[in-house]
């Protein structure tokens, strides 16, 4: 069931009414769990068995970890890690691994025919696995008491707003909320609905409209003009941001409607002045997960912390971030690029500062800030080309064409009609994208200035309602209702 479907709106309204008007507080976890199962099974029903397997294993291993000491405790942790990562490997990486072994085998003239699995990846598996792992790791570290209520633990993994694409929650932040009473709070419900509206606007007006151009260009690269490829490369960064942050807003908003506080996943990532800052603002729940459970142990465990170790830890972490997204070399390159950017940034930090001072940039902080923001955006756009392309060769082709269009921009611009040559992309979509992105940037600017996502919260009802109507009518009249799935659902 897609968030951007009529089915979801009906489902959400039904659960909302039952939650507050019918079911007593102590039984609400049953309603939410049943609703979450229904929500998940609307995609491929059988995959709930995979989820049930992981929930059962981690629930019992979590309890066992709390009861044991020493090596046994570690063994239970390792058992859980193997069960979770093994499931992930089986569904997501088995074919990729085998195909690459076959390529290597051919290179050394070894006759190896890989056995490939013909199965679909369970929806949101990477998210469940990481959320489950954070529970057992925190239980192992003694920072989280094991959850004794099986239903509540299952709900922690399956809570429908964040079930298929995160945010990846930590047990300390989420589990206790399922035990607390949730009375109807009109302000929270209103804020939750507002956040959902904002998410729908981002998804339907910006992401799905851009998708019309991007999908057509990437599907017909040979027939697309340099200008179309150039624009698709840049606009994809907005598409993926509005798609994923739109999803996150709907997830956080719908959880808030039920009285739950879910971590925000984005914080104006394209306003970042460095790649490090970008990752503190982009997919925050994943980057902080990998920072806490992978990067810190890699870089800081042991007695001696060296620069080489820091750099290596950083690079490995980002390769894994890439691989987490999918079993394809394009994602490996995407992660490696970001790892490379960060290592290079750390390595050249002093030199860059000295250069900025030498040129005189430091005397103009606004200019420096603009330059840094644009440079980060450009680097991110380059990495997203690998994220979107089907193969590394395709990504390199897109980059070559993008470079050519950029270097000959005036000539490329004379062929602007080529943008509307085919596919469903037309003037209306182009207009909606321009209006949508301008609106997005203005709202995000205001959100940053006021330090809240609810920018009209303290205004009169008339102002607030006008804002809601602007969002609703903007989405209805400018949105694209082709029910395109969210990009991050496939991870």
């Amino acid at each position: 069931m897609l968030f951007n479907s009529l089915q979801f709106l009906i489902f959400f309204a039904a659960v909302f009414l039952a939650y507050y008007a019918v079911v007593p507080d102590r039984y609400r976890w049953i309603l939410l769990l049943a609703g979450s199962c229904y929500f998940y099974m609307a995609f491929v029903p059988a995959f709930i068995l995979v989820l049930f397997f992981l929930i059962t294993v981690d629930y019992f291993l979590g309890l066992s970890i709390a009861r044991s000491r020493g090596v046994r405790r570690k063994m239970f942790l390792v058992g859980s890690v193997i069960a979770n990562l093994g499931t992930l490997f089986f569904f997501k990486y088995f074919n990729f691994f085998n195909e690459n072994i076959a390529v290597l085998a051919r290179a050394i003239h070894w006759n190896y025919s890989p056995a490939l699995l013909h199965i679909l990846l369970p929806l949101g598996l990477s998210f469940h696995v990481f959320q489950s792992l954070s529970y057992v790791i925190e239980a192992y570290r003694g920072k989280q008491k094991p959850e004794r209520h099986f239903g509540v633990y299952a709900l922690y993994v399956m809570f429908f707003p964040q079930l298929v694409a995160g945010p990846i929650e930590r047990p300390q932040h989420m589990l206790h909320q399922f035990h607390e009473p949730h009375v109807f709070d009109a302000v929270r419900v209103r804020q939750g609905l507002e956040l959902m509206l904002w998410g729908f606007f981002k998804k339907l007006v910006i992401a799905d409209r851009i998708a019309l151009l991007v999908n057509h260009v990437y599907g017909n690269l040979g027939a697309s003009s340099d200008l179309a490829i150039f624009l698709a490369a840049i606009l994809f960064s907005y598409q993926i941001y509005c798609d994923f942050s739109g999803y996150s807003d709907i997830a956080v908003g719908s959880a808030l409607v039920f009285g739950y506080d879910v971590t925000n996943n984005f914080n104006r990532p394209y306003a970042s002045r460095s790649i490090a800052e970008f990752w503190r603002r982009w997919h925050i729940s994943l980057s902080s997960w990998l920072r806490d459970y992978l990067y810190y142990p890699l870089a800081f465990a042991g007695k001696k912390v060296t620069k080489t170790r820091l750099y290596a830890g950083l690079f490995i972490t980002f390769i894994l971030i890439g691989l987490w997204h999918g079993a394809n070399w394009t994602y490996v390159v995407f992660g490696s690029l970001h790892g490379g950017y960060l290592v290079l940034a750390l390595w050249t930090a002093d030199a860059r500062k000295r250069t900025a001072a030498f040129i005189g940039f430091s005397a103009y902080p606004a200019l420096l800030k603009t330059w840094q923001t644009l440079a980060v955006f450009a680097l991110v756009c380059v990495s997203f080309v690998f994220f979107r392309a089907a193969t590394v060769a395709q990504a390199l082709y897109v980059l070559a064409k993008t470079k050519s269009a950029f270097l000959h921009l005036p000539t490329a611009l004379t062929r602007w009609q080529s943008l509307f040559a085919s596919g469903n992309f037309g003037f209306r979509s182009a207009g909606a994208i321009v209006i949508g992105i301008c609106f997005l940037e203005c709202v995000q600017y205001a959100q940053a200035k006021l330090n809240t996502v609810f920018i009209f919260e303290k205004k009169s009802r008339a102002v607030r309602w006008s804002w809601y109507y602007a969002l609703i009518f903007g989405t209805l009249f400018l949105g694209y209702f082709g029910a395109q799935p969210f990009i991050y659902f496939k991870f």
Partner: protein, 365 residues
Amino acid sequence: MARFLLKCALFSIPVLGIFIFPLAVFILGRELLPVSAIVSRQQQNPGQDILYQSAFTSYTEKPYKLLSTIARNPQIVALGLSQSLTFRARFFRREDAFYNAGRGVYSAADLSHYLNALPHDNNLAVILFDATNLLYDAAVQDEHQQASASDMLRAFLSSGWRAAYLDYAAGKFSVRGLMRERKTTESIGLVALMHHAGFRADGSLSRGTLPEILDMRKNALPMALQVADNIPEIDKFSAVSLRNLAEVKKFLALARERNIVVIGYFSPYALEIYRAIWSLRDLHGEEFRAAPATLAALFERYQYHFHDLRNLETIGSSDAELYDAGHLTEKGTLRLLLYLTAREPALAPYADIAELKKQILKEPF
């Protein structure tokens, strides 16, 4: 909570308000009728000339054609894309023996789906199969084999309501005109009501009074020449897809198993275009010249025949008998049917050569 819900209800009034006009248009235009109801209205009243053409949904075409075939239970059908839509029931000895299932398939993969979906005890004996444009694109399977009332509602809620505003603003219909037409005709769908265009009960397409169609007729020849001039620039011809050929083979095998005769052909283009492609000295040209032989060999395997009619002169027609660069008029289609009837004994019980000749003389265009 009750107070909150009341506020929500008040807040929703303007939002719901914007759907009132489009909903009225959908209801007045009979756009919300499920496909089964459309089919039964048309097939139960074949003499009433009820047309069907929605302005807001296109994915109903496949299930509509399939359900109509089942309801009509014809002995002979025309199957293909838009090129086959000019076959009329009146071309045949018995009108009720024919149904035009053109656009009942969108791809080669749909062919056997279509045949399989018909009841086993059907009367179907002959298929006039136009293979034009079914072999070159990737075989796509459309999920909308069954369209229900909820599909119409979904079409309304997704983009249909907005299209109603846009069409109204563009002057494509007026509410007064819509009300007037509703009184005079039982046709279904905004296009059918306002422009008298759409599928007739025999499945053929009435082109009606749509402005773009009239323009197309006026500009048929100049457009054909323009396309011909641009032939080397147009990415018009990819290689015949082996996957699509395999789908055609599956379809022929199934037809043979059910004792249905399949008469295959490529329908004509504007002469200038045909000559331009034929004379290409590249792979496209080679493919264009070789495709009929490939299909003829395949049809031969099942004791069927395949006819290459891409050259208008083969059927004794000319560019004057085209709606546009790739669609014959009814007169041209009569000539095509005459050509096939003269060569295919399986058509003799359904079409009369002398009668076809008379109709050609009478047909204005």
